[in-house]
């Protein structure tokens, strides 16, 4: 008996690691889903894209990098899935040089799922420095900044891009933001050119974006991993956010159980001594 208590007080860390791994992986493998309440601002964002006709054009801006990947990448994937499932064309660009690879990865992944072809259904314009000038400039003529896509292919060689000249041909702009570029999109694309904008942001900067929503400067707001999970719920297609939510609860519980076990072992051993 004494042996058992001392074992409880000194569980090998590898057993803890294994259990954490299992508790995160299993709910994901078995696609366990907990009900999620959808907030109004995510519903607004979803409806905006949902109401677009096939062939409409959505421009997505990747304004984050690897540090905000866990929060913003699920949003990007969910929105791409939404667009591709409705045959909406996607233009991707970004203002963070180190974030664009994340955009490219998501595009490759989702395009494969929906059998979409580069140049016919989506293009990736890449990164250009100096975001203010770029945001204002697209209002006049997108070719002034992006005569070619990120590989150097002229954008006019893609059929659907030929008719895109400026914001007027872009139905919705989606900004995925981890910093100040979200404000800039609202100021330059939104206020000057009346571009319809949806923002997806990290949990940290979301409170700063709410005034824009109240002022109807943006048409929807998705914030943090919770927001991504809500979007996935509306889309009825599970992604990493919604699949990860149950794991959160279980790991928290697991850690608390470990703390309790450790303390039971510790107290009984101490009493014996």
């Amino acid at each position: 008996m004494k042996n058992l208590w001392s074992k409880l007080a000194t569980i090998d860390r590898r057993i803890i690691y294994l259990l954490v791994f299992i508790v995160v992986a299993l709910p994901m493998i078995f696609r366990m889903i907990m009900p999620i309440r959808v907030s109004r601002e995510v519903q607004m964002a979803f409806s905006e894209i949902d109401n677009l006709k096939p062939g409409s054009i959505v421009m997505i801006s990747i304004d984050y990098d690897a540090a905000s990947e866990p929060e913003l990448q699920p949003m990007l994937i969910a929105i791409l899935r939404h667009c591709f499932s409705k045959n909406i064309k996607v233009i991707l660009l970004g203002h963070w040089a180190l974030g664009l690879p994340l955009g490219e990865m998501a595009l490759n992944q989702v395009a494969k799922e929906y059998n979409k072809k580069y140049g016919e259904d989506y293009v990736n314009l890449g990164y250009r420095p100096g975001y203010t000038a770029l945001m204002v400039g697209i209002g006049k003529e997108i070719r002034d900044f992006f005569p070619t896509d990120y590989r150097g292919i002229p954008i006019d060689s893609f059929p659907f891009m030929r008719k895109v000249r400026n914001y007027q041909q872009i139905d919705v702009l989606v900004g995925l933001e981890a910093g100040a570029t979200g404000d800039a999109w609202v100021q330059f694309a939104g206020a000057r050119f009346n571009q319809k904008i949806i923002l997806g942001t990290t949990g940290v900067i979301a409170p700063d974006m709410f005034p824009y929503l109240q002022a109807k400067q943006i048409a929807g707001l998705i914030s943090g991993l919770q927001g991504a999970a809500e979007y996935e719920t509306l889309l009825k297609k599970a992604g990493s956010a919604i699949l990860g939510m149950p794991a959160q609860s279980f790991v928290h519980l697991l850690i608390i159980i470990f703390i309790i076990i450790g303390n039971i072992g510790y107290f009984i051993l101490r009493k014996r001594r």
Partner: protein
């Protein structure tokens, strides 16, 4: 496309190699670790030169005119002086740029601490003792400050408050610990999703 597949395999292999460290140190981890240190050290050289030296020094030197242009030579010279460490005889010269950077830190350490921490944190604690929360907050701040008193032995009332201070500190640390768990699990969810979805393709 084939490059993407190779890339995903590479990424997955490296991911698993790092995770293997949880069991124990092993050749796979050791390999991944040395690749990581090598690649990231190289990456930072390029990063610093592309985002610091080129725009802040070279481009600016080429585009500005007049005195501003020549002022830029000061940091450039200080930077070069740093490299005198390579030769034992001149190594002491590198103390000039070193002491300059330490001076920057110390100067900012005074004004930035006063403006950024001292004033706002004191200002936020100037509260009327009309609610229990306010009373607790003020007592908590006071006793925590007392805990950090160094030139007095903790005896009597003083001891009471310093102990109260450590109680507040421990509650605070426990709470921040618990608060952070969620963010850390999110990271693991992201990695496992990558393995299950992008690599093994067994979940949507």
């Amino acid at each position: 496309m084939i490059l993407n597949i190779i890339g995903t395999w590479l990424a997955a292999t490296l991911t698993l190699a790092i995770f293997s460290f949880l069991y124990k140190d092993n050749p796979f981890y050791k390999l991944a670790e040395h690749i990581y240190v090598g690649v990231s050290a190289g990456f930072w050289v390029i990063y610093v030169w592309a985002f610091d030296i080129k725009p802040m020094l070279i481009d600016r030197f080429l585009t500005t005119t007049g005195i501003e242009k020549w002022i830029l030579l000061i940091p450039a010279i200080l930077g070069v002086l740093m490299l005198t460490r390579w030769f034992p005889k001149t190594a002491w010269i590198s103390r000039i740029p070193l002491s300059f950077t330490i001076g920057i830190g110390a100067g900012l350490g005074v004004t930035a601490s006063i403006q950024g921490f001292l004033i706002p944190q004191i200002g936020a604690t100037l509260l009327p003792l009309t609610t229990i929360n306010n009373i607790l907050l003020v007592i908590g701040v006071i006793s925590t400050i007392i805990y950090f008193y160094f030139s007095k032995e903790f005896k009597g009332t003083w001891k009471f408050f310093s102990r109260l201070g450590i109680i507040f500190i421990m509650i605070a640390f426990g709470a921040s610990f618990g608060y952070t768990v969620m963010a850390r699990i999110s990271l693991l969810i992201g990695r496992i999703y990558f393995l299950l979805h992008n690599f093994l393709n067994i979940i949507p």
